[in-house]
Symmetry: C2
Subunit: 105 residues, 2 copies
DNA sequence: CAGGCATATACTAATATTGGTATATTCCCG
DNA sequence: CGGGAATATACCAATATTAGTATATGCCTG
């Protein structure tokens, strides 16, 4: 969890995840699609890999990267408690939380 | 969007959002609950404010901070396309999305 | 097996982020 | 109105992140 948000803070890394959404890709493909330098792509992929967002499959000299769901799922879970903020039933919910039991002080 | 992930990358800032989940809080309350220095809290709040995650209400010398849903909602939306990665009904879902109506291209 | 392709890594310089300390600002209250 | 409380900001030092350039590694193919 700690590394997930940091990994996603970089726009190019989010772009890479977006690319991988449709299919697995080699480093070179990512490089060309996003117009990044090869070392830059490799380094971003490393961060994403260490954070668990992607994994690589080796095919000859290529590395084919694909998404891994886990960290994204955790993101989803982190987000869950905040959903009530924009849920339609906000009013009823708040009234409930403001009831004697729900209050903190 | 650009600033959202960066803002969330910092653990103390996520902790602040967590605190605000239950109710609005003054800077001093946050400071005590999270055991952070006052300037540190103010600075994190600034980042959160500029990214749209919180807003402040002034009450005498206090600033009462509370959550704003917008950036979290955007996060949710950014996440949406990735949901299919962990959805149980993946197979059925894909078949549905591949049907004439659901297709993009 | 030599050359070339695909990818990773080391190193460096530039820039950004964070925490700390000191100070400024605003407002309340006696 | 003077002092103190609550918060913000400026400044600095330490550390982290990023892109770039050069180089290393591994694996095909002729």
């Amino acid at each position: 969890m700690e590394y997930s948000f940091a990994a996603l803070a970089e726009p190019n890394r989010r772009a890479i995840l977006g690319l991988l959404l449709s299919s697995e890709r080699s480093v070179g493909e990512i490089e060309r699609k996003l117009k990044l330098s090869q070392p830059s792509v490799s380094k971003h992929l490393r961060v994403l890999r260490e954070a668990g967002f992607v994994e690589a499959r080796i095919e000859a000299q290529r590395r084919l990267y694909r998404l891994r769901p886990e960290p994204l799922l955790e993101l989803e879970e982190w987000l869950a408690p905040f959903r009530r903020l924009w849920t339609k039933h906000l009013d009823a919910l708040e009234r409930h939380l403001d009831s004697p039991k729900g209050r903190k002080r």
